[in-house]
């Protein structure tokens, strides 16, 4: 995996590289781009941006950018000492352009919120960042961040909302291809998501207005997102975006730019409006909390619950027969948009067989362990732990929906923000 760390200060870039080295990621090849070299690379990037905007129809990038060929670009957010005429720079002001105009698929912003270790608001890290993900330098040494596996987690800290960084470049490339093949297609139907009520109501009002504010969600086209959102290309006018959009049908390089912009926005929408709320889509741990009778193992044992988190192949720690007959058909089919297997909750919730099974389990004296899913550790834990261990804490996330109330273990040494979201 090729990683490029960009910073105005060499020492800070080296700290980030050292943090990645400590994660003992097997195949990480980390390069630094700092100071004057970074200034020059950005100048070349913005020359390319200008060429494309000035003449979309003739846009044909000839020379490689310094960012090309990497799987991941990591920017320190504070670039104020970079030798650049004009305003002091932050990663936020340029990271979208790197993503759109280079072939590096995924951009991380570092240290934008240095005092936020765990995001209690929206369970995405930083919902406002223009980067694909906002992290802090010390997160990089957590091997779990890269693999997504709990047994790799440093101090046991592994936010469930972290995508496995080693996997995201390939997933993003698939996302871009998916979008590029459907620029004029409808978003929800292409994704196999409901386009009409009542199932559409499982998408929050925020989710229904986030991508294309001017249209009903069922009518969104992928290209609308490029026209109505300015997250990646904040300095470009609507006219410029329109010119790029209309050239996309004729020009492969422009279509790639447009698809990269849309894919990044759609990825954030999935994380902020579908994966975090667990309403339209539900993943395995949140599903078994709603339907514990689905577990393959003994639900009175914490191990059965944890097996369902760790399992990476169907039936994902669930009862094989029930999974085959009732659950598999609700699986969300476009895995490149979600970090782990997810299922259409409206279908499962309205499934009469599953409804009956819940009440049958209740009347059959089945014992259920009183466990909670700790979002900061990506694992189940007893609600009331033994000994002198602190119990997990409940919080209410800020997104709309019926599942905003969640639980964290609160790992010592990590900052949870904002503190006011805790309910006890």
């Amino acid at each position: 995996m090729r990683v490029l760390v960009c910073d105005d200060q060499k020492e800070r870039a080296e700290e980030a590289r050292e943090a990645i080295r400590r994660s003992e990621l097997d195949d990480a090849d980390v390069e630094l781009l700092v100071g004057r070299d970074l200034t020059n690379a950005l100048a070349a990037l913005f020359r390319r941006v200008k060429e494309s905007v000035d003449n979309p129809a003739g846009y044909a990038p000839a020379e490689a950018l310094r960012f090309d060929g990497f799987d991941l670009v990591i920017f320190d957010n504070n670039l104020s000492e970079l030798e650049f005429d004009g305003a002091r720079l932050t990663a936020e002001s340029m990271v979208g352009y790197v993503r759109a105009f280079s072939d590096c698929p995924y951009c991380v912003s570092l240290n934008k919120n240095p005092d936020v270790g765990f995001d209690l608001r929206y369970l995405v890290g930083d919902h406002e960042t223009r980067a694909d993900l906002a992290l802090n330098t010390d997160h990089l040494e957590n091997r779990g961040l890269w693999t997504g596996r709990q047994d790799d987690a440093l101090d046991g800290f592994l936010p469930w909302y972290w995508p496995a960084l080693a996997d995201v470049p390939e997933r993003r490339r698939e996302q871009v291809r998916f979008v590029q093949e459907r620029l004029m297609g409808k978003v929800l139907s292409s994704l196999g998501l409901p386009e009409a009520e009542p199932s559409l109501s499982y998408l929050s009002r925020h989710g229904r207005g986030a991508l294309v504010p001017s249209k009903s969600a069922g009518d969104w086209l992928f290209i609308d997102m490029f026209l109505e959102r300015d997250r990646s290309l904040p300095a470009e006018s609507l006219d410029s975006r329109k010119a790029l959009a209309s050239s996309a049908a004729e020009s492969e390089p422009v279509a790639e730019v447009v698809a990269r912009v849309i894919a990044a926005d759609l990825d954030l929408w999935f994380r902020r409006d579908l994966v975090a709320p667990q309403e339209m889509l539900v993943d395995v741990p949140h599903l078994v909390m709603r339907m514990p009778f689905l577990l393959a193992g003994d639900p009175s044992e914490t191990k059965a619950w944890q097996d369902a988190v760790a399992s990476e192949s169907a039936p994902f720690g669930l009862d094989a027969e029930i999974y085959r007959a009732q659950v598999a058909k609700a699986r969300f089919q476009h895995g490149m948009w979600v970090p782990r297997p997810m299922f259409l909750w409206p279908l499962l919730k309205e499934n009469e067989v599953l409804d009956d099974l819940f009440f049958k389990a209740a009347s059959s004296e089945t014992e259920i362990a009183d466990v909670v899913f700790c979002e900061d550790r990506s694992m189940f834990a007893p609600r009331v732990p033994g000994g002198d261990q602190s119990p997990p804490r409940e919080f209410t996330a800020e997104f709309e929906g019926a599942s905003a109330r969640r639980v964290v273990a609160v790992v010592p040494g990590y900052e949870y923000r904002p503190w006011s979201r805790f309910v006890d």
Binding site: M291, P292, A362, I368, D370
Partner: protein
């Protein structure tokens, strides 16, 4: 003497109350306004989760009691809205729980009182009766008929303890299958308390389920 809500009840009442407040926030503003006015003003109603939680935490104190909106379930069109308020008292070495339940139907108010068995007298069984009192205030306005008898009939209930009494409240208001069963499951599962849900469903089943 005032007393705290038993833990076994608190674990069900809190999620139930939160769900009620959430549903209440979806009622159109002008309808809510009319109901609040007819019940004596906003001070008497838990309009936010925090107010409902505080009202439950101080259930033994009539001064801080508030009417807590009950959740609605789709299809239940018999009444516009219902509210409940628990009152916990301590005396003679045991805790007793009663519930005021207020139903609003076509702008009219119907108050009920669900009570555990009295220690002596004729009402030595769990029962529900009509009432003219809401949070200690006697209603004589035309929305509550002043001829309502408040001691009889005292309908017997199948419960034998405080939790069972609350399950009777739920089933009275929502029905059983597709009603209190679903409400109990949904409000607890929503808060990741499926083990609790299973336990309370078993209690419901013992009270209202089929014998087989």
């Amino acid at each position: 003497m005032a007393s705290a809500l038993p833990e076994e009840m608190r674990r069900l009442l809190l999620p139930y109350a939160r769900a009620g407040v959430s549903d209440w926030s979806q009622v159109p503003g002008h309808v809510r306004g009319a109901m609040v006015t007819s019940l004596g003003g906003p001070r008497r109603i838990a309009l936010k989760e925090e107010e409902a939680e505080y009202a439950l935490a101080t259930s033994g104190n009539p001064d801080s009691a508030k009417l807590i909106p009950m959740p609605r379930i789709p299809g239940n069109v018999g009444f516009q809205q219902a509210f409940f308020s628990p009152l916990v008292t301590d005396g003679g070495g045991s805790t007793r729980v009663a519930f005021e339940v207020v139903v609003i139907a076509r702008g009219n108010i119907l108050p009920y009182r669900f009570e555990q068995a009295m220690r002596s007298g004729t009402h030595t069984y769990d029962h529900v009766q009509m009432s003219r009192e809401i949070l200690g205030r006697t209603y004589t306005i035309d929305k509550v008929p002043d001829w309502l008898p408040t001691r009889y009939p005292a309908h017997p209930l199948p419960s034998r303890d405080a939790l069972g009494l609350f399950l009777c409240v739920l089933t009275s208001m929502h029905g059983y299958r597709g009603g209190s069963q679903e409400i109990v499951r949904d409000v607890l599962v929503k808060e990741h308390r499926s083990a609790d849900a299973m336990r309370y469903l078993r209690r419901l089943d013992a009270l209202f389920g089929d014998d087989d």
